[in-house]
């Protein structure tokens, strides 16, 4: 194809992909994107479900004012504003009076089904003659208290006080650091509290950011109105939304800064080396094609792109720019007779082999079960392929056939050629370099530590974290991410398991293994437990007569008549237990929204824990109940990440084996194949060793970055191996590697300055790795590339 149409088609394609990306780009920063099913897929699903649950979507706002009344007034005003916001699912600032009626309507008719949590232990005694006398004395005691009137009203229908007992269970569960003042939640230090949940996941900035902006603006307005020009009121909040936004801002900011600075650095480098504005601009073509194609394909495949994937895409510059650099350098030093196309033909085998080995390495990652890593693998493979294709198809058409020689470039190439010649003369002493690298690898392997905590991939803003912890402490919120889960195929079995777990947790709390917990058991028992209560009450047809005698003996007047309502209730104990659907259909559902979850057809009932001081003991207490687990989201995620770090490392080695086989197939002799292969292997190992020896634990993204180092290292080795036997070609290729390495260090060195630990890991690993590769590539070429150089 002639130059003109080829360029036009390329430009049109780039424009179309650019438009598509601009219109469809949706960024995600949900860390669970890097989650894959572990040994128990239900727990992994639970972890994902938790990240999307109402618990994650709940925010706690805490308002401080000069006095609590003003804080309450501010909460009322803010709640009124937020309740109208489309992103707010619900708000709650105090006890809802509607719950009182709902509670009575639900529980009073079923009171006898919920007489005892431990019917086998308690009811034989309670319903015996002595137990009934004690029950009568308890009623007398209640009647002498200030709340006597309430008890007096209930006793005729409920002399065993089963309904009051349920009230007490609920009250105990409701208690916490919050008190109720003027109908509002108030902390011990007088702050008014507002709870709210967002409609969408807090990880989706498209929804979370406007909500946060609205919240800040409305609070400022309210503070200005109520406080002394806003000075007296202070808003603090707890919730993952702000952390997600902060992380996204950091990633976006880093990407922008890195892109700008690396571009400036690379432009300066190219201007010095090539002295041509055209050659400064042309590398943008394969980079743009690489990023645009990778983004387009990722959006088509996944619908959105994770922030880390895009950050990795920015890093792609480091690889993609190597191809035009190699082409320009050779073309300027020794242009082909038929122009750039001829130069390209000369270096094409190296470019193709380098790109193929890189793609093979990335494609190996595609076998991992992490969605995020698969996305990175696809992005990188597609990006590299597109960058190479545009380098080979478009750049020759855009390059001058007879470029003006650049003095600096030629001088540098000559010196590098001389350096290689000197290295050949001192071949034996070169062994020191790979031996040192190997020694570094061994030392690193001995000292390496792995960090699989997901939070290591995110840098939490310390101020936000401190504020979040203050607010959580004020409301005694349950610990995030640590809970007991009862899982079963059906609701009833799950409830039975939850009943059993509840009893164990009560014992664990009494033994100080945890501070407190919140369980669905407070609201709902299994049908089996309710039926057991009914069975005990119906077992003795003389129960009412015995009860009447016992109460009469304790001073009650004519109980057989006074308690006629109870006699009727005993005859008509409901056959149908209280069920979850009834609670979920009542106003009480807002108190229970987080307790139950569906796990692909199974029912999971969650119990939230606070202050677990002995996780092993709590786990031992519940884990022997079938289907019940102590679930530690952080630990579970760390386990999964750990397994997949190992898996990724294995895939890297599998990829390396594939690369080695490709090199052996190409060179058909071990010497050149190893000359191309070993620099990457040693450089990758040495870079991780340096990081490990610096005391930094390695995590999954170090392993991912290792793949990047290996890919580029193999490119370096391949480019040199392809040039072996021709001193001029070797010198030109060596200069290509220096420029490629410098440009990569620009890009990745700056990534190492990122405040995001994930980007930092990628930056340090790749930055060090390419430098080691540059040093080792000519060394192994001289040591193993047998073909002697001819001038």
């Amino acid at each position: 194809m002639r130059r003109g149409p080829r360029i036009a088609i390329g430009a049109a394609l780039l424009l179309l992909m650019g438009l598509f990306c601009a219109l469809r780009l949706e960024l995600s920063n949900e860390i669970t994107h890097f989650l894959a099913p572990g040994d128990d897929p239900r727990l992994a699903k639970l972890s994902r479900r938790l990240s999307e649950s109402e618990l994650t979507r709940t925010m706690i706002l805490s308002i401080e004012a000069d006095d609590t009344a003003t804080a309450i007034e501010a909460v009322d005003a803010l709640e009124a504003e937020l309740a109208r916001h489309p992103e707010v699912a619900w708000t709650r600032s105090g006890w809802n009076p509607a719950h009182n009626e709902a509670f009575h309507a639900l529980y009073f008719p079923k009171r006898l089904l919920m007489l005892s949590e431990r019917p086998d232990q308690e009811l034989p005694q309670l319903l015996g003659d002595r137990g009934l006398r004690e029950a009568a004395r308890e009623v007398l005691r209640q009647l002498s208290l200030p709340t006597e009137a309430l008890v007096k009203k209930l006793v005729p229908a409920d002399p065993l006080l089963s309904y009051l007992r349920q009230l007490q269970r609920l009250e105990n569960a409701r208690k916490g650091a919050l008190s109720i003042e003027d109908g509002h939640f108030v902390t011990e230090d007088g702050r008014a509290v507002l709870l709210l949940a967002s409609v969408h996941s807090p990880f989706v900035s498209e929804h979370q950011r406007p909500l946060q902006e609205f919240l800040a603006a409305r609070f400022d307005a309210i503070a200005a109105e109520l406080g002394d020009g806003g000075a007296g009121l202070e808003l603090e909040q707890s919730g993952v939304g702000r952390f997600a936004l902060k992380a996204e801002d950091t990633i976006r900011g880093d990407i922008t800064r890195i892109s700008v600075l690396s571009t400036i650095g690379i432009i300066a480098l190219f201007l010095v080396m090539f002295r041509s504005l055209r050659l400064v601009l042309l590398p943008v073509v394969p980079i743009a094609f690489g990023v645009a194609t990778a983004t387009t394909v990722s959006l088509l495949m996944f619908g959105s792109i994770h922030g880390l994937t895009l950050a990795f895409g920015a890093s792609l510059i480091g690889i993609a720019i190597d191809y035009p650099v190699h082409l320009f350098n050779h073309h300027l030093l020794d242009p082909g007779e038929d122009g750039a196309a001829g130069t390209l033909r000369r270096i094409r085998p190296g470019l193709l082999l380098g790109a193929l080995t890189t793609i093979a390495g990335f494609a190996g990652l595609g076998w991992t079960s992490f969605p995020g890593v698969r996305e990175i693998a696809l992005f990188a493979s597609v990006g590299i392929a597109a960058a190479l294709a545009s380098t080979m198809l478009l750049l020759p058409a855009l390059l001058p056939d007879r470029p003006a020689p650049v003095r600096v470039q030629r001088q540098l190439a000559a010196r590098l050629g001389a350096l290689i010649a000197r290295m050949r003369r001192r071949r034996a002493s070169l062994v020191v370099a790979p031996v040192l690298a190997l020694g570094l690898c061994v030392a690193g392997a001995i000292n390496v530590e792995f960090e699989d905590d997901v939070s290591a991939l995110t840098q939490l803003d310390p101020e936000l974290l401190a504020e979040d912890e203050r607010v959580r402490a004020g409301v005694s919120r349950m610990d995030a991410g640590r809970l007991v889960v009862a899982i079963a195929d059906d609701e009833e079995t799950a409830l039975q398991r939850n009943d059993a777990a509840y009893a164990r947790l009560v014992a664990a709390r009494e033994q100080g293994q945890l501070e407190d917990f919140r369980s669905l058991h407070t609201f709902l028992w299994s049908a089996k437990l309710q039926a057991k209560n009914r069975a005990y009450l119906q077992a003795d047809p003389e129960l009412f007569q015995r009860l009447a005698r016992a109460y009469e003996a304790e001073g009650f007047r004519d109980p057989a008549v006074a308690f006629r309502e109870f006699e009727q209730a005993l005859d008509d104990i409901p056959q149908q237990p209280l069920r979850y659907e009834a609670l979920a259909g009542s106003p009480l559902r807002e108190l229970m929204g987080s307790f139950r979850t569906e796990l692909d057809g199974e029912v999971g009932i969650l119990t939230f824990l606070r202050g677990v001081s002995d996780p092993d003991a709590v786990a031992a207490a519940v884990n022997d109940i079938e289907g019940v687990y102590l679930f530690d989201q952080k630990q579970t995620m760390a386990d999964i990440y750990g397994r997949h770090r190992e898996q990724a490392l294995q895939l890297v080695f599998v990829g390396l084996l594939g690369v080695l086989l490709m090199l052996v197939a190409r060179y058909r002799r071990p010497g050149p194949a190893l000359a191309a292969f070993l620099p990457a292997l040693l450089a990758g190992g040495a870079s991780l060793a340096v990081i490990a020896l610096s005391g930094t634990p390695l995590h999954l993204l170090h392993v991912v970055s290792l793949l990047l180092v290996l890919s580029m290292g193999v490119d370096y080795g391949v480019f040199l191996a392809e040039s072996r036997g021709d001193a001029d070609e070797e010198a030109a290729t060596m200069l290509s590697l220096v420029i490629a390495c410098a440009s990569t260090v620009f890009a990745f060195g700056l990534l190492g300055m990122s405040s995001n630990p994930a980007l930092e890991a990628i930056g340090y690993t790749t930055g060090l790795g390419v430098c080691f590769s540059l040093l080792l590539a000519p060394t192994t070429l001289v040591l193993l590339g047998r073909k002697g150089a001819r001038s």
């Binding site: 002498s144 208290l145 709340t147 309430l150 009051l164 009230l167 007490q168 008190s179 003027d182 509002h184």
Partner: protein
């Protein structure tokens, strides 16, 4: 059996449904009223003839109060009355009732809330968020405040002086506003001259609470430390 017995009627906010709240508040407050009226009845002022205006006006001047009470609850449920004994305290708008026998419990009321407590815990009801509770509290507080206008809005009042020259009298308050009138039939305050000896609260169901007062100190002034101790409910 302790797990089934030995709890108190907590979850009050949940339980306070409709008129039930009035019963709780009314029975908790009833003993507080009479000695407060007695404040205005020191024997030295016996010369003046008793009437409603004087009773209420003298009460409004009260600086502080201490009294012992004995309360008998006559319930249809029980063959014999339940008897409570304890002390009453009033100062600067705060009212405390501490029951000493047969079981310890306490009630404290201030402008914002009513609190209940015993050895097993405490409860409180915010008045601002509970207009019904506020009405019941006000129905008593207005007596303490000597606010005849407000009382006449809540009660039909009838004052009867004994015709035998003994100085005896009886003030009957019948609620006329909903839901107070659904809970309380009447309150009867009885005394001689300006000294109230007994108050009887009759509930709609027929149950009665009869409270008598002794050792009334109408000029009691509480130090800060003493007030902090007295106007605090039992329980955690």
């Amino acid at each position: 059996m302790r797990s089934l017995h030995g709890f108190r009627a907590r979850g009050l906010r949940l339980a306070l449904r409709g008129p039930a709240v009035g019963v709780v508040v009314a029975t908790a407050l009833a003993p507080a009223v009479a000695p407060a009226v007695a404040v205005a009845a020191p024997p030295a002022k016996k010369a003046a003839a008793p009437n409603v205006e004087r009773l209420l006006a003298e009460f409004a001047k009260m600086p502080g109060l201490y009294a012992k009470f004995r309360e008998e609850k006559h319930m249809a449920l029980l063959a014999a009355p339940l008897v409570n004994e304890g002390t009453l305290h009033f100062s600067r708008g705060r009212l405390a009732r501490h029951t000493k026998a047969p079981m310890k419990s306490s009630v404290v009321i201030d402008a914002d809330r009513i609190q209940f407590g015993d050895e097993s815990g405490r409860e409180q009801v915010e008045l601002a968020g509970n207009p019904i509770v506020r009405l019941f509290v006000d129905s008593f507080v207005k007596i303490l405040a000597g606010d005849r206008t407000a009382l006449e809005r809540i009660y039909d009042m009838s004052f009867t002086a004994a015709g035998d020259g003994s100085g005896g009298w009886k003030l009957v308050l019948r609620p006329k506003v909903d839901p107070l009138d659904k809970v309380i039939d009447r309150m009867e305050l009885e005394g001689t001259d300006l000294v109230v000896a007994k108050i009887v609260m009759v509930e709609k169901g027929g149950d009665e609470t009869v409270t008598t007062f002794t050792d009334v100190d109408v000029n009691r002034r509480y130090s800060k430390a003493e007030a902090d101790r007295v106007f605090r409910v039992l329980g955690k």
